[in-house]
Amino acid sequence: MSTESFDLDAGWRLDERVSIRPERFGALLYHFGTRRLSFLKSPALLTVVRSLAEHPTARAACAGAGVEPPELPRYRAALAALAASRMIQPRSL
């Protein structure tokens, strides 16, 4: 998924086959279905990913984690990469 096509205003959630391990740099993510490993490179991104399901939109999850508007494109790109590797899913699915 390209960053542009990632819908910040949709509801997202972590795939239930993904396990998260917090690390000092952020977190490691492992998807048991695709058997792929991903990295979250900041603690704030970990907060966003963990709270996706509790917020109506990804944008709200970012705001809830204290992500300032100028930083939003970076977080959008990170979320798009996670969606491309199926670590996170649109809640509509």
Binding site: R17, S19, R21, E23, R24, F25, L28, Y30, F32, G33, R35, L37, F39, K41
Partner: protein, 388 residues
Amino acid sequence: MSLVDEFQYGLDAPICLTWELTYACNLSCVHCLSSSGRRDPRELSTAECKALIDEFERMQVFYVNIGGGEPTVRPDFWELVDYATEHHVGVKFSTNGVKITPEVARRLAGSDYVDVQISLDGATAEVNDHVRGPGSYDTAIRAMEHLADAGFENFKISVVMTRHNVGQLDEFKAIADRYNAQLRITRLRPSGRGADTWDELHPTAAQQRELYDWLVAHGENVLTGDSFFHLAGYGEGDLPGLNLCGAGRVVCLVDPVGDVYACPFAIHDTFLAGNVRDAGFTSVWRESELFTSLRSPQGGGACESCSAFDACRGGCMAAKFFTGLPLDGPDPECVRGHGELALAGVTSAPKPSLDHSHRKRKPVPVTIGMRRPPDRACDENPLAGFRN
């Protein structure tokens, strides 16, 4: 700090680890990195294995690469696989395919948490059986057929690259495609019985280049276990992966008797961090002297002045050690040729500390095939009497 830097300094728990469940094996591959064959009587019991899995779960080790020996010959193998997956520890196991019946394949296809890796070291029976023994090609292919028939997608075909099979890369890819599998290629190491066959089997300099070019062109869908980071020294295209030696930092090996080594290719007292029976795995991982020292900045010796050093980081510790090269010197397969020069001055190399090879066979049958182990009443081979 970059991710690679983070990993250099080690994590509180391995990302994944290799767990050799048994040294028992029905085969006697001439490059076996664990010199497997006979079961070690001190092998961890079922209860000890389960306690270790509990520890992996507490540490959030995502998955374990189970190998051996041939792990499926342990009578409690499936019990341990089920126990691990029930405790959120994923399992990827390596097998020569001997126990992958249609029924087993169907069972495996039903689980997200189990991945299978079939070892195959030649795209033809001739090349494969030369290294892995007569009949082993057919056994592996039959296992792949069973997995494909059961609908198991994306199982792995695991190939150790040798002088005899680098030219078969496209054929390996075709085999993987035929069975809906994914190709995984890894580097031959001079470890275990591989120390005796290294000179004959390791790829030539020209073949290394061929392999590198192939990986740069096809690498996206091919797994390498990050094992070719010494080739990053060519520096003309990105190899997939982090290209980092994770030994004792993000990976390690637990052997059948619970000894913890820095990596699967370093079964030697020099790289032994401790035993899970003494203090538990967590304390070995977090506190052992060896792992602590591996996580401190490593000197690159003479390599530090080389322009490729940032890419290759001096190469593979185990490959250097078992060819008698200093750990802060070049890799024996250094792409700049420094390894070859250094090897010319080596007079002796360390011998592996352990040898579980089947007895009563000619030492290291490299150019001829192998005989089947003798059938004796007291044969320790768990597959005594087994015939394909």
